[in-house]
Symmetry: C2
Subunit: 664 residues, 2 copies
């Protein structure tokens, strides 16, 4: 029945102030208010409806996205939304669109790599969307290895132009979002060639389509690369293919903040430090970590609410059956994911701070923390996106059969989320970068150069290499110091073991290739430590609200013990803990899950998601699942007619044994 | 270029006779020949084309499936295919359809639960497809808990009929495949009520639609439940919703092989043993394990071939870059999945034997092995389907960005496969059943009752509880006995530990609920042991062909060591192996992966999949990936026009700053 709250009982069980936790989740009261206001605005506007997405064919779907993205922009202008509000609005519209790349990659690329002049020329056009831009880096043949891109930008001193060209099939640009059908411009990455010499890969602003009639400019072949994973999902985006046939652009459209080509075709490095590029990467990857916490919390919210509604087995004397959320297996699968949502939220918040810190230092010409910050964001991007992708699918399975329906919202969430494991750096390639940084850190330990930031713990390597956990009772695992030491010891020992094995190779690079698998595991251990330690640090802050700090403390432990159990082999084989201590951890985890149980619904309510944003019948905030599932089913196009199209041609002849003569 | 084999070099590296391995994979020369012939038949018939699936809207997609399924049946008749060939043909058509449920569930249900008379009446109709049937068990409110179904079948002695009725919303049938739009009949499960008494859930043959015009019969509301995960994928199937409003069927349409209702409304048990039902479950789940080996091998075939084509980084002096299959991380993720494909194949083969064995015993009234066979198939269904679902997604990630395109084949393979983790028993619920059986086995250890079949090893519990692995060098892990003992010891110790903890509870059921998470892990350990030991047994058979046995031995080790590494925590915490022995295992695994490397392409060629069946541009057997990816892209509907539909309404006003007046 409409209007009834089937989860009211669950909500009343919560042992903390859910409104206060909403603010902690949002980051601040201000952020909460903006988020709350804009999400309701989007939810209440029928133009932003999205429940029909899975049923639309590609063309309809795409056209619909053009409408929504344009309408969103119109509303942004009409309501005079500021940047924060505008970006929240796009976020809650919750549909990948060309605007994501325009605002998220094109504009930042010009800001980060363009000269002041270039910024003055291009940014106002972009800010008003008089041009729409994409970020065209990846090619058919090269993604991870950016230095291997094949597109060329050859300087022609005669005309003061670059000639952009696609010399091979594999040099075709491939994947850029917004490119396929919409972008008028792109930041195109190409090998700079002057005077026959190859100066590596640089960015160029290239106009792709006419501003009059949208047709591709001469020499440009451009299109969509085709359907991607899932219904709706990323198919609202026109990831594109692009080929250049000797396309000429003026010299001043090379992004020249760092590297410059003069009128004569001489190349020179400006006095702006190259490392600035890393600052941009730190920025983009930090937003990906924040997105991970959104995606995982959405999935967890759906699975948690539905698990409280779903009952199966355990009815005694005709009473109600057991809510599946009361099964220990369900808790053991679900609650660590709930804890991960909070863990990723807080580490994302910290990364935002880190980005600000790095930026300020860069402005003061202090590059000392950059490598560490870069490794740390690369690693956290990898860790959180991989875990989130897995978590969404696990949440889907936690919903049993009904999770497989599009109306559960989980299939589309998964399909739209998974490429985060690949774009902005393949997750394994990123972990290998982290490992490289860790090996460098270890190699410098003797040198007196103190490891900084998230690797500071390695300064205590001597202790960490031989310490023994002093946990004696299950409750001892509640102490943050016990958790931290075990995680630090594990990470240190795994890194040091890799470094030792590396040193056995004559050629370091050979060793690095041979030991890749171990190196990746060491990198993971390091990144998990960061997540755990940032959660613990968060709890050391002042957190107002009745019971809020307590329940977050609970989740912090659940997260840490979950990782400990999952990677028990690491902890035991490095001798950081004993089997007995491992089983005490499991024992504690069981009791922590029971403590989470009464708070579970309130913990997902704290994300403050509207039903529109969640987009899930199973996750409805009022828990009114079954009537709505039933209602939704009838909307499928197949139900337009009682007898399906194809009955007369195929099924009837089959049943009537008249196939011999049927035209099939 | 067409006609060139880009993988020829790879193929020439193989150290074994790939044609002989094809026969091992197929199961026999006969099976290979049938499979090979039928798969080519399907591949060469344009009517079975499937590459356009992701682009079709629901209605078109569904109609297309009706055409294909009907056409397939027509070909089966025309070519006079026997049962084996017909089922292979349906398999290679590779599209979920109502026929799957007709042949896979409806017919077997009547065979298993119908009396001789009922079989004589209904089976001929079904065999000729003069009726089309589905299997209608699950309801909106109950899936796992079949005993909780709410649909009623009330006997009316006045008319000698049952009245089938849906008393609540949650009693609506929900999920049955083929029900939504096609089935004329269903085996419907309902609570049998006679004389006011509830006799639990039984099966009834119910006609659903008119054989004249396909309209639902009076009292029946039926439709499709809507879109499911993925493009194409399971959306070719009409999973349905069904409600009964006092629908009358004759008494003789209750399936009465085991349980009967007389003319007077008296119920009685026939002399046919109830346990027969389990025989059917063993059968169905055994086919699911076989399907798992198909799905995982398909994904692995795609990822392996593409990994040999894809090059990224590592170019020296302008030479070719490194094939990504040469990276150790890639091998470490991919080769254990390749090994799993073979492991699941062989355990599936063994399960087929087990089913025959159980059936023969049942016929001889020997029920002794049934519980063990039942637990074992339940566990293996769970293990192989979960591992396969994860493996497909991992293979997709192994293909980098391009794996996310539908043309890679992997998104659809994942979406269509994952429900196997849920249907025919939720994987966690199944593992809990296995655990229950294991606890019973442990509790009887003292009683002199010898554990049989796959639990026979527990007869040596005393030894296994205290033995220590004698591995001293990495190569010692090559000995099957070393592997087996470690796996047996781990499984025994985990089960026994659970049993001990259980015994601390006053009420066993409370204990069982509280310890669910540990019990599931013990069940997994037991099932993994079965897979490993059946692989080892397979290798003890005579396997002809140059190098075939050797390469399979390699894969057996890779599989076992992969599980050992993944669950290292289990092995260490139960003291089955030492940390040192664990790291020797990793060392050996590294060298085994190098040995797999030259054989990798041939190992996936041995699956003998046509390009049609694989359905993947990345997995093409000739390795001609890039030109075909490029070619396929242009087929997307969005590329029908250069300027996209929606440009004039939305994008142009946006660019021209004319949104204020635009109608959006
Ligand atoms: C949805 C989506 C949107 C995208 N949007 C854009 C965009 O807007 N603009 C743009 O320019 N690009 C975009 N991309 C492209 C994306 O950035 C690349 O796909 C990504 O960088 C991965 O590169 P790849 O595809 O070449 O993977 P590959 O490098 O080919 O990876 C294949 C496999 O090789 C492994 N591998 C590669 N190198 C190594 C190594 N050195 N050691 C060990 N293993 C290795 C990987 O781990 C992986 O398993 C997008 C991609 C997707 C999927
Ligand atoms: C594609 C597809 C096709 C199908 N085809 C058919 C068909 O043809 N005919 C038909 O009749 N049905 C069909 N089904 C239904 C299917 O059999 C059920 O979905 C399946 O049995 C799972 O039941 P459920 O959905 O009720 O899951 P639930 O039992 O609701 O599971 C929800 C969660 O609760 C957990 N859980 C449940 N019980 C316990 C317990 N005792 N202890 C611990 N945890 C528990 C599960 O692990 C899961 O995480 C189909 C389903 C799908 C997805």
């Amino acid at each position: 029945m409409d209007g009834v709250d089937y989860l009211a009982d669950e909500r009343s069980k919560a042992q903390f102030d859910v409104d206060e936790l909403k603010i902690v989740w949002a980051g601040s009261r201000h952020a909460f208010e903006v988020s709350d206001r804009i999400s309701r605005l989007v939810a209440s506007d029928p133009a932003f409806r999205k429940d029909n997405r899975p049923m639309l064919g590609r063309k309809e779907l795409f056209k619909n996205t053009l409408r929504k993205a344009t309408y969103a922009w119109k509303r942004i202008i009409e309501l005079c939304l500021n940047e924060e509000e505008a970006s929240k609005l796009r976020f809650y519209v919750d549909e990948p669109a060309f605007t994501d790349l325009h605002w998220g990659m094109f504009v930042p690329a010009i800001k980060g790599q363009g000269t002041d002049e270039q910024q003055q020329k291009w940014l106002p056009l972009a800010y008003k969307m008089q041009i729409i831009g994409c970020y065209a880096q990846t090619e058919l043949g090269h993604g991870s290895n950016v230095q291997g891109l094949e597109t060329t930008a050859t300087f022609d001193p005669q005309t003061d132009e670059f000639i952009i060209h696609s010399p091979t099939l594999t040099s075709s640009k491939w994947w850029p979002g917004g490119l396929g059908k919409i972008s008028t411009h792109g930041v195109v990455y190409a090998r700079l060639i002057t005077d026959g010499q190859d100066h590596g890969v640089h960015g160029f602003i290239v106009q792709l389509r006419s501003l009059d009639d949208h047709s591709p400019l001469p020499g440009i072949t451009v299109g969509d690369i085709g359907m991607k994973f899932g219904n709706g999902a990323y198919n609202t985006m026109d990831n594109g293919v692009l080929r250049f046939d000797h396309v000429r652009i003026p010299r001043n459209q090379m992004l020249m903040r760092v590297f410059q080509v003069t009128r004569e075709g001489k190349v020179k490095q400006s006095n702006v430090p190259r490392q600035l590029v890393y600052g941009t990467m730190v920025f983009v990857r930090q937003t990906i970590v924040a997105d991970a916490s959104c995606a995982i919390s959405r999935a967890v919210c759906i699975a948690t609410r539905y698990s409280a509604i779903r009952r199966q087995f355990g009815s005694q004397n005709g009473g109600a059956e057991t809510q599946v959320i009361d099964y220990k297996t369900q808790q053991n699968r679900l609650f660590p994911l709930l804890a991960s949502a909070y863990a990723f939220r807080f580490v994302g918040e910290w990364l935002k701070w880190l980005y600000t810190d790095v930026t300020q230092r860069l402005q003061a010409n202090d590059f000392s923390t950059l490598p560490e910050a870069h490794a740390c964001t690369a690693g956290l991007k990898s860790l959180t996106t991989s875990a989130t992708a897995d978590a969404i699918e696990e949440c889907r399975k936690l919903c049993g059969g009904h999770g497989y329906l599009c109306t559960s919202g989980l299939p589309e969430l998964f399909a739209v989320y998974v490429p985060a494991c690949t774009y902005e750096g393949d997750n394994i390639v990123l972990l290998l970068q982290v490992a490289r940084f860790l090996m460098k850190t270890v190699s410098q330990l003797g040198s007196g150069k103190k490891p900084v930031g998230t690797t500071a713990y390695m300064g205590r390597a001597e202790h960490l290499l031989q310490c023994q956990s002093d946990v004696q009772r299950a409750d001892d695992w509640l102490k943050p110091s016990a958790i931290l030491e075990a995680f630090e010891a594990r990470a240190t020992r795994m890194s040091v073991a890799c470094a030792r094995n590396l040193s056995k190779f004559k050629n370091q690079e050979d060793g690095f290739l041979e030991l890749q698998a171990d190196l990746v595991e060491a990198a993971v251990a390091h990144c998990q430590l960061i997540v755990v330690s940032k959660f613990i640090e968060k709890l050391q802050q002042d957190i107002p609200g009745n019971g809020v700090k307590q329940v977050l403390g609970l989740l912090c432990n659940v997260y840490a013990l979950h990782i400990l159990h999952k990677h028990l082999g690491d902890f035991l084989s490095t001798g950081c803990i004993t089997p007995k201590q491992g089983s005490l951890a499991s024992e504690l985890q069981r009791s922590l899950c029971s403590q989470v149980r009464p708070n579970a619904i309130a913990l997902v309510d704290a994300f403050n998601y509207t039903d529109h944003y969640l987009g899930s019948v199973l996750g409805r905030s009022d828990g009114n699942v079954y009537p709505k599932l039933y209602e939704e089913a009838w909307k499928d196009p197949l139900n337009d007619t009682v007898v399906p199209d194809g009955y007369h041609e195929y099924i009837r002849p089959l049943l009537k044994q008249q196939l011999r003569t049927a035209r099939l």
